[in-house]
């Protein structure tokens, strides 16, 4: 089948490469298991289902990567980098579940029917691993789209004893509104973490795991096209973003905290900045490392977790709470842009998800999400954009502006007695706040 030569001359097995022609004709299910280890991180080895090869060291943890629907038949471009990054994180076995023959079919209904058979196949393989001495709790399955449900079926077949299932935007079509046994659910593994990035189209809206992340609210992703004019990206960009976000979390370039909240709107209104439930650990960090919060998350029960991202990598935003007290006699409406400068860096946060309301002597709490982490803030600037139409645009008269980082224990930054004219950028040196009496 697909073979190429590895760096030591031995033959490498690669992911089945099909083309559009196959997807139209249709493919019959063939589940191939490709093993990657630190010894051969760029050269897959096709495994026999009945007799795992000696290279599959069962004392090491094993991670399965299960792809989803492949309407073009091509190998996923994120697959190899993900394998490499998983192996860099720890000495483990990475098994790529290649069910491209079966997933590459324009008939989505046929592909969905193949998920059960793929799951049965995988369950049998994991049972063989167990018989040969593997511990089920050291197994982690990463399922993308339909792959997330396959992981769920495997987990259910094994009575939820496998260690962890990560669902990357679990497929929505034909799974929405289905009972737990017909989709991924928290009983399928000891720990189930799910990312929702396209819940209004190809993904699912309902929480499916112990923790459900909803980046940017879970529906429309930053930097993804909003109209069909952008071609195929319009359909897949939101859905695929889950994979790219998770992949970035493997690299650990930056850290994104996710905040438990009833709705995305509440999160955007800074109503969910409290992480006291998690003690000194703080709110869960999105991605691969979230397993460190497993005990508290399983104890706290199902909840939605929100965070926002930048429109391209690095996706991490840095969260601050911005509190503003004004003294205008009349209520003011508008939007705020805030920037932070260090010696050679600057970060920007725009708060315009809705019209902000500033009433006299009332503290307005806002969520300021900066596109980058600036450590030593030397200067700051604030711009106020009045949203009052056909009426005199009064200036925003600020008594106190306080910026408090949500993560860590940095001292909040303050500035007092400011006048913000419409659209005029005011730059100043913030000073450390002192205890507030307001």
């Amino acid at each position: 089948m697909s073979r190429s030569l590895g760096h030591r001359g031995q033959a490498c097995d690669t992911f089945t490469d099909l083309d559009f022609h196959h997807t139209i004709v249709g493919t019959t299910l063939d589940v191939r298991l490709l093993l990657y280890t630190r010894a051969n991180s760029s050269c897959g080895r096709l495994m026999s289902h009945s007799a795992p090869p000696p290279e599959l060291n069962l004392t090491r943890p094993t991670t399965f990567i299960i792809h989803g629907f492949r309407p073009t038949g091509s190998p996923p471009n994120w697959l190899e980098p993900m394998v490499v990054e998983l192996l860099e994180l720890g000495d483990s076995n990475v098994v790529v579940v290649d069910w491209n023959r079966g997933a590459a079919n324009i008939d989505y209904f046929r592909v969905v029917r193949n998920t059960r058979a793929t799951a049965t196949n995988l369950t049998a393989f994991i049972r063989t691993m167990e018989e040969n001495g593997a511990s089920l709790s050291s197994i982690h399955m990463i399922g993308i789209s339909l792959g997330a449900h396959i992981s769920g079926f495997v987990g259910a077949d094994l009575n939820g004893t496998i260690g962890r299932i990560t669902g990357l935007d679990a497929a929505g079509p034909l799974f929405a509104g289905k009972p737990p046994e017909d989709r991924l659910d928290p009983t399928d593994a000891q720990f189930v973490d799910v990312i929702h990035t396209d819940m209004d189209a190809l993904g699912l809206r309902e929480p499916l795991g112990h923790i459900d992340f909803y980046p940017n609210g879970g529906a429309d992703q930053q930097g993804c096209p909003r109209t069909i004019l952008s071609g195929s990206a319009y359909f897949k960009c939101d859905h695929q973003r889950s994979v790219y976000l998770f992949k970035e979390s493997l690299r650990r370039t930056c850290e994104t905290r996710a905040f438990p909240c009833a709705t995305y709107a509440d999160f955007m209104d800074a109503r969910c900045t409290d992480c006291a439930d998690f003690g000194s650990q703080g709110c869960p960090v999105f991605g691969y490392g979230v397993v460190a919060w497993k005990d508290s998350l399983v104890r706290l029960g199902q909840s939605k977790y929100f965070f926002n991202t930048n429109n391209k990598s690095p996706y991490c935003k840095t969260n601050y709470r911005l509190d503003i007290v004004t003294w205008n006699q009349e209520v003011q409406w508008g939007y705020i842009t805030i920037k932070m400068y260090s010696k050679n860096q600057s970060a920007k946060a725009t708060i315009d998800h809705k019209k902000l309301n500033f009433a006299k002597y009332t503290e307005t709490q806002l969520l300021a999400q900066f596109d980058r982490d600036v450590t030593t803030v030397e200067k700051m600037s604030v711009t106020f954009f009045s949203a009052i139409v056909l009426r005199p645009k009064y200036k925003l008269r600020v008594l106190r502006l306080r910026l408090q980082r949500l993560e860590g224990s940095d001292r909040p930054l303050c500035r007092y007695d400011l006048l913000l004219r419409d659209k005029e950028e005011i730059t100043f040196r913030p000073i450390p706040c002192e205890e507030s009496n307001f």
Binding site: V325, W327, N328, Q329, E330, Y361, L390, R391, P392, K393, Y394, K395, R397, L399, R400, C414, R415, Y416, D417, L418, L419, F428, R429, I431, E434, S436, N437, F438
Partner: protein, 245 residues
């Protein structure tokens, strides 16, 4: 329909009345303006012998309507101004009036927060505090030289305090005076008092927010922090030493 017809009738008869007046232009214009079909209508409308109905079936009813409207619009109101010109002018006039009033509203309306009457502010609110001068050597020279010198330093510092509080956007209108009333020689500490006057109206909230210790203290504190970047002078104050209660 009938109304239009009636109107046409009336105005027509008026023009008819004017027609005989001297001036060949009017006559000429009337002729060029009115197509023959209209003249027919005019004839019938003038209530002459009902010969008009005989002509009517010959004309297309829609064409008739359009033409009638045309005539109506081309009627003269005065001099060379026809009805359509007048209507257009009125519409433009209304739009301009609306636009001008919006602009005037924007420009002329005063910011309510800029309006205040200081003479009604009569309830005093005092704050006392202290700070240390950074440039001790220079300041010490000034102090030991003579008591006259220390008065100069005091008045300079007083001026600095008065200046910054009068310039404050939130506190300026309430600020009354600042006084340096003592130097503690050993640590070069200046002791000062600030007086603000506030109105009786909304007194409690003003005390709690605008004229709170927090704001009075921090307006001075951030001023001192901003000055840190300036070249050091005899009036340099250490922001960390600031105390107000």
């Amino acid at each position: 329909m009938d109304d239009v017809e009636l109107q046409t009738m009336e105005t027509n008869s008026r023009t008819g009345d004017q027609d005989p007046r001297p001036g060949p232009e009017t006559g000429d214009q009337g002729a060029t303006h009115l197509p023959p079909s209209v003249q027919v209508t005019v004839g019938s409308a003038n209530g002459e012998t009902p010969s008009a109905p005989e002509h009517r079936p010959l004309l297309h009813p829609q064409v008739c309507e359009v033409e009638r409207l045309q005539t109506a619009l081309n009627e003269k109101v005065f001099w060379k101004c026809t009805v359509w010109m007048t209507v257009l002018v009125i519409i433009i006039f209304i739009a301009v009036v609306i636009f001008i009033s919006i602009v005037l509203c924007e420009v002329l309306r005063e910011d309510v927060d800029d309006k205040f009457d200081r003479s009604s502010y009569d309830i005093p609110q005092d704050f006392n505090g202290s700070f240390r001068l950074t440039n001790q050597v220079l300041a010490e020279e000034l102090l030991t030289a003579s008591s006259n010198q220390s008065q100069v330093l005091a008045s300079q510092l007083q001026k600095k305090l008065s200046g910054l509080y009068s310039d404050s956007l939130a506190l300026g209108r309430f600020f009354s005076s600042a006084e340096i009333y003592d130097f503690r020689n050993d640590s070069m500490e200046a002791v000062f008092s600030l007086r603000f006057l506030l109105p009786g109206e909304d007194q409690d909230r003003i005390r709690k927010f605008t004229l709170s210790r927090e704001l009075v203290y921090n307006v001075l504190r951030q001023f001192l922090y901003d000055q840190e970047t300036d070249p050091p002078g005899p009036l340099q104050i250490d922001p960390a030493s600031l105390q107000i209660d």
